[in-house]
Symmetry: D2
Subunit: 142 residues, 4 copies
Amino acid sequence: MGIPNVDKPYKHRFTCRVIYGDTDNMGMAYHANYFRWFEMGRTEMFRALGLPYREIESRGVFLPVSECQCKFLSSARYDDRITIETSIDPGMRAGVRFNYVIYRADDDTPLAAGYTKHACVDPQGRVVRPPKFLKKCIEQTI
Amino acid sequence: MGIPNVDKPYKHRFTCRVIYGDTDNMGMAYHANYFRWFEMGRTEMFRALGLPYREIESRGVFLPVSECQCKFLSSARYDDRITIETSIDPGMRAGVRFNYVIYRADDDTPLAAGYTKHACVDPQGRVVRPPKFLKKCIEQTI
Amino acid sequence: MGIPNVDKPYKHRFTCRVIYGDTDNMGMAYHANYFRWFEMGRTEMFRALGLPYREIESRGVFLPVSECQCKFLSSARYDDRITIETSIDPGMRAGVRFNYVIYRADDDTPLAAGYTKHACVDPQGRVVRPPKFLKKCIEQTI
Amino acid sequence: MGIPNVDKPYKHRFTCRVIYGDTDNMGMAYHANYFRWFEMGRTEMFRALGLPYREIESRGVFLPVSECQCKFLSSARYDDRITIETSIDPGMRAGVRFNYVIYRADDDTPLAAGYTKHACVDPQGRVVRPPKFLKKCIEQTI
């Protein structure tokens, strides 16, 4: 586990495509789908940090979303390549907060910016303190 | 449990709306979403038969989809009221097969027709024979 | 058009079910899907006010989501009946803001609370002032 | 446009991950989501053939899904890497039919197999013969 010496805060980038199933009647990506892309962003960030989210769960720690927000700046359209830039918010005490900016990859136009907050819970759903292995993983990014 | 004497085969009808989140760039409902409506149809049919699917699961029986198909006849569009007509196929030996027709509710235009086949599995995912309580529920419709 | 004399602010209620397709691996509704329910809430509120959103669009006015947020208080689970309570925020100057609370219908447990902000745009996507017919519709609720 | 001399029929492969938002209460990918993956498969195949679907539409040709089917062989689970293998069916006269097999990428277990049939329509939604540029693109694969 561990990312090499990188500029802090660490910003992870992941790129994917807008598919037909993501779009709506107005010809743009349906707003709820940005939260799917946020999920892809944080999942791939965890993987890049050497700690896949699946492994976090297998150690008995779950990170359900407790709050999420997104501001829409410009429209993502069908077949656009989008880049999800994910970083971990240094200000959170309990739980974890991820910040995201989504860009159109071809011209770097920012399309959306938002965050997700996550509680740390055990398999019974009780809120717990973030375990050491998770804190260590997070701290290397901020 | 039990539906009163009705014409056989029993056809259950459930109505809902096409939302923006269901539509796509072409201005019609995205094809994958019809399978969500099929799910609503069979779930509400089970409930109408006095055996909510949640109860089937609580008795240790699961009905994962093993095959599904849909033919698209005409477009469901934003805010259309659609009626899902669900019936149980009398021909299945193992598992259960549901047949569906989706109509535009306002003018009864058929929009799509399809089916889902379901295996009967136990909590470990092993295929089992449909238990008596499920067979009894199904047989009253066909 | 017009709702009878009701307590202000007007709170619209709409009830639906959590389907399998809404849930995720954790056994609860996937967070992004709450924004689909928010959409159902505001759409049915507009309809109840005598101004279906489809009609707003047919008059050349679109209300894309410019910002959305949701706080998750308790889990919506498979087959739960949920009630979406929608109201229009009196504080907005430009555009429209809807506030939502989602309850588990059976015991009135609040599950989530959030909002969506909407710009008012013309068919070319340019921001415009809310037209009179829309303001009139909104003002009767607040 | 043009793929180099390859074994016929041409089979295109595209890999992605199963996200939380794709899974359901049973801990596996919700069946309707396989049709999103089928879409990714055919879209990336068209792109690999030098004819992005977006370009097909910009030439006034649309390929709405007229029928789709999927058989589920084994479960795709959270965070699985899946490979979508797409090929064009040589048997279709009018329209286009794509065949798909989805594998778990890590051990090549086949998870699902299915197809989608597509009508060829003009911007007014009328069925038309596949234009030359589309036929040429398709024929190089079969």
